[in-house]
């Protein structure tokens, strides 16, 4: 094997996250079509209930495509494609850095169509990586805890607030555990590039015995229940979709900047049905025209005007720069510093 030694290195870093050696899926569901002629195997980080409306809408347009939808974490998705070369037709992930690595290291197919040609340049890379949502990382707070307290609008104000109210917030702050969450790692590394305040904030959160989470959903649930008062770097789209059935949470988009993650689709090089995958990509990048659908999924489509309207939005840029924090040593150093700051027993 040509890449044996390299994949060894990758599996070492992946197995440090999860001790299992084979790829593990979280959920799986098959959507059979009426007159099925082909099957499209999708591996995705998006929960089934988020993505289901898209699958149904897609099948209405393409009634002869069965869809096999597998949910996995971004690191498991990476393992499935990068190490095990499983024949998925489409890989959809919120971890832009890992998706970039797939494309950079030759695990992605090139695809272009009329739909992808009209995409803005910043939303795709190498015609292999296609961003179809723009989802900011936001601060989610529990309404009850901020009745008397002013709501912070920048990271500096947030640090100030946490410092001055350490009794109130002790054990009641949440954020991603960047060691296990690919998206959390992406947001944290982007934060470390964007602002000096990031390490101070991590430091302060460490002193407050911050709770660490695997996923945005759980953070939102805990904020709603009052278990924690605020959660930092929550996926804004998930929070927004929970607003209508969850009482007591407020979404705070910070003013200094908002890291915006683009959910991306990649056709793996081992795909058996790249044509079907191409159809799905065309469908996904056309989400903006389908306002009902994007409303029901809660996934905000790529929209230049929306970005310009909110000047704090800073879309994470595609390119080899995203590979930097995947570097073995860089990751080790970053995680060491982060762990040192966040756990201060």
């Amino acid at each position: 094997m040509r890449f044996a030694r390299f994949t060894l290195f990758l599996s070492v870093f992946l197995s440090s996250l999860s001790m299992a050696n084979a790829f593990e899926s979280e959920q799986q569901r098959t959507y059979s079509a009426q007159n099925a002629q082909e099957t499209l195997r999708i591996i995705s980080t998006a929960d089934i209930d988020v993505f289901e409306p898209i699958i149904y809408a897609f099948q209405r347009q393409n009634p002869n495509v069965n869809i096999d939808y597998v949910v996995a974490s971004s690191t498991e998705l990476m393992r499935a494609i990068y190490e095990e070369n499983l024949p998925f037709d489409l890989a959809i992930s919120s971890a832009m850095d890992l998706q970039t690595k797939l494309a950079n290291d030759g695990f992605a197919r090139t695809y272009s169509s009329e739909a992808t040609d009209t995409m803005p340049g910043w939303a795709k890379w190498r015609n292999q990586l296609f961003g179809f949502t723009q989802e900011p990382a936001v601060l989610v707070i529990s309404e009850a805890d901020f009745l008397q307290t002013p709501i912070p609008t920048t990271r500096d104000e947030l640090i100030e607030l946490l410092r001055n109210n350490s009794e109130k917030f002790d054990g009641r702050v949440g954020t991603y555990d960047v060691r296990t969450s690919g998206l959390g790692y992406l947001f944290a590394t982007q934060d470390s590039r964007n602002t000096e305040a990031f390490w101070r904030l991590t430091e302060v959160m460490g002193r407050l015995n911050t709770r660490l989470y695997c996923c945005s959903g759980e953070m939102i649930t805990d904020v709603a229940s009052g278990k924690i008062a605020l959660a930092y770097n929550v996926l804004g789209s998930y929070a927004a979709s929970r607003l209508h059935n969850t009482a007591g949470i407020v979404i705070v988009p910070l003013d200094d900047y908002l890291s915006v993650m683009l959910r991306t689709a990649v056709i793996p090089s081992e795909a058996n049905n790249p044509e079907g995958a191409g159809l799905m990509i065309d469908f996904l990048v056309g989400l903006k025209a389908n306002t009902d659908l994007s409303a029901s999924t809660g996934l905000p489509p790529i929209d230049k005007e929306a970005l310009q309207a909110e000047s704090a939005m800073r879309p994470i840029q595609f390119g080899p720069g995203l590979l930097v924090f995947l570097d073995k040593m860089r990751r080790e150093t970053f995680l060491r510093s982060w762990v040192n700051s966040i756990t201060q027993d």
Partner: protein, 460 residues
């Protein structure tokens, strides 16, 4: 002159040669632009790769005896600024990969004295450009040699070079077309003096043997000189033959005059009518010969002068009155009345007086000669966009249906055998008319019997 079929053309040959040169230049231009531009693009990639490797090498440090790297964000992101190419890197110390892609080959730095080495190789089935850079990092008590390799695929370069190629192609083709068009114009203008020369020679009248004075380029001067000297010799030999005729006519006239005088004396002494008749025949033949000699002399003179007119301003009314005055004695002998009808204003042209006098004299001489006694001749000058010098008599007219034949040399009418003549008078008048860009018109008299001979001269 339709010899196009067999002759090659300077213009075409020149055009083809220039087009071939243009094509060669276009190809050379294309190759140069491509090479230079591709080299520039490759150099750009090399310098960014080197900058990336440098920034990685600068980020090396040692921690508790181990070499560590804080991979700078810019080291990889800068490689993404010019293209969307794949990027690979590897950091090696003592044959152990510290980080990066551990199957990425290391360009051989030992051969080269410099610490930066570039290499183009294949990695993961794609052509990549790789740079290797060595850096000594001190780990406590000793320094360790660390090699940084950064590689990038060359798709952006290929795209750039194909863009440059198509631009260079377009420019080269455009250049070729423009230069070819200009070449054809240049070839055209190169042969233009030749065409001008040809025209200036063909436009000439049959007798115009003056040297060619058209402005010609230096290259054509020998040709023009040869032409001119040829024409000079031709003119010389023509002149010589005209002079010979004049000389001969002159030499014949003098002895003829002697013969005539003697014959006249003899005639008066003769008694016998038969003999008298014979002598009269002799006298008539001598008159005829003498007239011919005179006219030949006149004709030779006209031919010579027609080549080189001595022009000056001439008043045609004066010319006509003068002719009428000179021939009045002759007309008086036949009781012929010469009527002048001249405009009151002067009618001036530029012309050769001697020639015009000769022409007018010959025409008026005919009118008198072929008119009966006691008739009249109208000498009229009409000014009608041209000058019409008309001589209208009431004589016998001509029988020929085509009077222009009478202009030919030694041609006489069929109804004039009783009158002495050589058949050169109208020839002289016609040549003079042509020398002045005019013409001779011979028509029947509209108002009765007789002839109207007009010398038509354009304004000058």
């Amino acid at each position: 002159m339709s010899r196009k079929d067999q002759k090659w053309s300077i213009r075409r040959r020149l055009g083809i040669q220039l087009s071939v040169i243009a094509a060669l230049l276009s190809i050379a231009f294309y190759l140069t632009v491509r090479t230079v531009a591709e080299q520039a693009a490759a150099d750009t990639q090399d310098s960014i790769l080197a900058a990336s490797a440098t920034s990685i090498a600068d980020a090396l440090y040692s921690e508790r005896g181990a070499i560590r790297l804080e991979l700078p964000y810019s080291a990889l992101s800068m490689l993404g600024t010019i293209s969307e190419d794949q990027v690979f890197y590897r950091v090696v110390a003592k044959d152990i990969t510290l980080t990066g892609y551990d199957d990425l080959s290391i360009p051989d730095t030992s051969q080269n004295q410099r610490d930066v080495v570039f290499e183009t190789t294949i990695y993961r089935g794609v052509q990549v450009r790789a740079v290797a850079m060595s850096r000594a990092v001190s780990t406590g008590n000793q320094a360790q040699e660390v090699t940084v390799v950064v590689a990038q695929t060359r798709l952006g370069l290929a795209a750039t070079s194909s863009r440059i190629s198509s631009t260079a192609t377009a420019v080269a083709v455009g250049f070729f077309l423009v230069v070819t068009a200009l070449s054809l114009l240049a070839a055209q203008s190169a042969v233009a003096p030749l065409n001008r020369l040809t025209q200036s020679v063909t436009r000439r009248g049959p007798k115009d043997l003056r040297p060619v004075v058209t402005e010609t380029p230096r290259e054509l001067v020998p040709l023009v000189d040869a032409l001119n000297s040829f024409m000079g010799r031709l003119r010389f030999s023509l002149t010589r033959s005209e002079e010979f005729i004049a000389e001969a006519a002159h030499r014949i006239r003098t002895p003829l005059a002697t013969v005539r005088t003697q014959a006249e004396v003899l005639y008066r002494q003769m008694k016998q009518p038969d003999n008298k008749k014979s002598v009269r025949e002799i006298i008539r033949a001598v008159d005829e010969s003498s007239r011919s000699a005179g006219q030949l002399l006149d004709h030779a003179m006209v031919s010579l002068r027609a080549d080189q007119l001595e022009t000056r301003e001439i008043d045609l009314t004066y010319l006509m009155r003068d002719a009428s005055d000179r021939l009045a004695p002759t007309s008086d002998l036949k009781d012929i009345h010469l009527k002048l009808d001249l405009p009151s204003h002067g009618c001036k042209i530029m012309g050769d007086l001697i020639l015009l006098q000769s022409a007018v004299r010959n025409i008026l001489d005919n009118s008198i000669k072929y008119s009966p006694e006691d008739s009249s001749i109208l000498i009229r000058l009409a000014d009608d966009e041209e000058y019409h010098l008309m001589f209208i008599d009431e004589g016998r007219g001509f029988e020929s249906s085509n009077p222009q034949n009478l202009v030919k040399r030694f041609t006489r009418g069929s109804n004039v055998s009783d009158v002495i003549g050589s058949g050169l008078g109208l020839t002289i008048a016609d040549e003079v008319a042509r020398a002045h860009n005019g013409r001779l018109e011979i028509t029947a008299n509209k108002d009765g019997p007789g002839t109207c001979v007009s010398l038509v001269l354009p304004y000058s």
